[in-house]
Amino acid sequence: MHLKKLPMEGPLVIYEKGYDSGVLDAGGGYVVTAHIESHNHPSAVEPYGGAATGVGGVIRDILSAGTRPIAILDGLRFGDITKDKHARWLFKSAVSGIADYGNCLGVPTVGGEVEFDACYQNYALVDVAAVGFGKKSDLIRNHAQKGDLVVLLGGMTGRDGVGGSQFASDLLESQDRSAVQIPDPFIEKLIIEAVIEARRQKLIHAMKDLGGGGLSCAISETADALGVGIEMDVKKVHTRESGMSPEEIMTSESQERMLIITGSAEIKRLQDICAKFRISCSVIGSVTSGGQMRIKQGQETLADLPASVVANASLLDLASKRPSYLDELDAEPPGPIPDHTRTLELLVASPNISSRAWVYGRYDHEVGIRTVVRPGLDASVLRLDNGRYLAVTIDASPKHCYVDPRHGAAGCFEEACRNVACTGARPAGMLDHLQFGSPEDPEIFWTFLESLGGLAEYSRDMGIPCIGGKVSLYNETPAGPIKPTPMVAVLGLADRPFVAQKAADGDSLIILGDTKDEMGGSEYYEYVHGIVGGACPVVDSAVSRKNMDAVLDLIEGRLVKSVHDCSKGGLAVAATELCMTSEIGCDVGLDVPGGAPLDAALFSESHSRYLLVADAKSLDSVTSLLGKRGVPFGMLGKFGGSRMRFADGKKTVIDLSVDKAQRAWSSSLGDLVHG
């Protein structure tokens, strides 16, 4: 009931019954579908298979709507890899699992994020978002009538993953590897092609992916969503091994399976398509009138109950209480630090800020030839067949959410929107994935409600609807719960792609937005000082909208060469990233709007800020547009030379070779993994 707080309606949102994915109208008769899920528990136990099957599941949700999957993004979280060998192994294996699965499917992994935090020790958060694309007229309009056939298509049902979802919601105490499903991307690829062919021939009345709960959930949810009954025979299910009990068959979470409802007139053609791709296809039952779900074994009836009972478990309203840890957070740090150059060097090479090329270099991010803006920048951009462009990103900021769940959650949503805006696209929809510990703990449930409230408020203020989402609870180990980790995916649409150009000698660096003394949950506090606490950055929706509109206007007029979001590591890191990717130095004055003291000016992670690069000929137009719009901005300095220099008044506080920073930034993650 709490999830209903999120606004789900918007001019571009299309709703269809029985969908697991959200649908946005992309214009010109085309739609974009999107979904996000996690596979945390399985990945913590068996990271390769857990991560791979996480990709497989969300891809099938996209396929269920009748759209072809065109992109994958993944958010990965592990313990402190600088100290923890196990975290290193989890990270490496999860990346391999995603790479092997996505690459084989031919669906590009175009973006994502990686974060390390001791709260995920002996655990893993593996979030996968997927995007689909297709014609609006090709969407599967789920329907069924009495006498329709219920078909199970794809991989064989085996004993892997029996009770997988139950396992996923237990506290992670046992390491039950057999509850983790076995991935087979080749079968998934064949299913994609077979389903798209069946859709083209209009053979599918309704479709659902088999995920958590296996057949029992897919059957009951389908019957419930379509208002029909389903009768099925477990003997008709093609199994991988003999002697499986009906319970095992009904709850197996074997991967790469789809449930399709088709008519008796179409079944032959569907079977022909499956024969072409050599995938199994069994008619396991039929649609009945009334809402009963009847499970049989041959002639014997094993279960007969209303599908609605199985499908609609009630969501309890639990007790909530402000956590006591919030009163025990660390105090703000003792005054300024002596060596800012060394601090910036440290941050640039830190596990949470360094280049992610080691990760995305393992993912095929080009296949499908839609990728206009590649991973490694703020958001990735894909070209669509209707001549438009889709920008997409995912974000989470558990460090902020821990010290302030409400503003932390709103902040990660705002950051995702900023990333999308940096590519010239206007945010059109969001997906959320709420990951917390046990909701039965009132303090955790409080952080859940606060985070949800933060997301709902920003969503309403900005008019960016929630098109889908998921909740993952009980993310705990014997050492305790994870930090609140709401993740947000934002999709934006643009008519023209804006591809950032490198900054060149003489170009100006401008900051848009106020920098405040909001260092709580920052990398500077946690990585440099080891302090967990302080005031977390706060989102002001009115400011957010004003600044974002100004950025979109600048890009629309092509007045800037590039726009970069200012987030983790603050202005100092964001400016250094621009210099490293442009292979040029910059002299930065720290007279930033917002009145932050020196350390905050450099490292605060205040929201709604953008760095702009403008060449000499458009500089006046940029400043006059910003002036007219009444947004706070500051001229930071000019690009040139080969060093990053930050000056506080006349005093140089940072002087760092771009080349040296670049080497540390680009190699440190790979070195850590192999170290």
Partner: protein, 224 residues
């Protein structure tokens, strides 16, 4: 000119290749499912990239025994231009149409990145519009892309002009930095990098579209 794009179970660059051939270079293309024979009227054949049979056994090993391969061999002998890209190259090698083998990259992992090729042989139907030693930007995306051939074979290939593309840098440990090769006759070409991913300015981050000359070479061959 009609180009047959062969599709195996698990091919995943077939649609990209089809798009580039038809929408970008205005050639007539047709998908050819691996179980069927090739149509008689195709003037060139492309084996696209992907993971045929999920790379089981070895990349390309199972697809090399598909029914369509007999037709590909027959047409290759009849001097029809044949191009294998990435997994298509692996299949041509496994089928014995091209020499050598493709091993795991020396990084032991999948690699997706842009690199540069140097054109070594500009006499094939796919490279006639290049000048020799021309540098072309192009992406790779493979796990088993390290070309290997023994010394004797390499010498013989060198003599016959069978080395079509070399990498500009040491990318994956390939023998002689080889990225693409051809048969002694020059009509069968295999390469690990993906020309179809570099043929349109919008998705080519280098701003240099010279890789398009591969498709223009093919088109020019048809016209002559």
């Amino acid at each position: 000119m009609r180009v047959g794009v062969v599709v195996f179970p698990g091919s995943n660059c077939d649609r990209d290749m089809y798009h580039v051939l038809t929408d970008v270079f205005d050639l007539d293309a047709t998908y050819c499912w691996h179980e069927h024979g090739l149509p008689k009227d195709v003037d060139a054949i492309v084996l696209p990239g992907g993971f045929s049979y999920g790379d089981r056994l070895r990349a390309g090993a199972i697809a090399a025994h598909s029914p369509v391969i007999a037709d590909v061999k027959r047409m290759a002998e009849a001097s029809v231009p044949v191009l294998g890209v990435c997994n298509g190259f692996q299949i041509l090698v496994e089928a014995g149409l091209l020499p050598g083998a493709l091993l795991k990259n020396d990084s032991l992992s999948f690699m997706c990145e842009w690199t540069e090729l140097l054109v070594q042989n500009n006499k094939t139907p796919f490279t006639s519009k290049f000048s020799k030693n021309q540098r072309i930007p192009i992406p790779i995306a493979n796990g088993e892309g390290r070309y290997y051939a023994d010394e004797d074979t390499l010498r013989e290939m060198e003599r016959n002009g069978q080395i079509v593309f070399k990498y500009g840098d040491r990318v994956n440990g390939s023998s002689g930095m080889i990225a693409g090769v051809c048969n002694p006759e020059g009509n069968v070409v295999g390469m690990m990098p993906h020309p179809e991913r570099a043929a349109e300015p919008e998705i080519n981050p280098t701003g240099r579209g010279t890789t398009s000359l591969m498709f223009e070479s093919l088109r020019a061959g048809a016209a002559s």
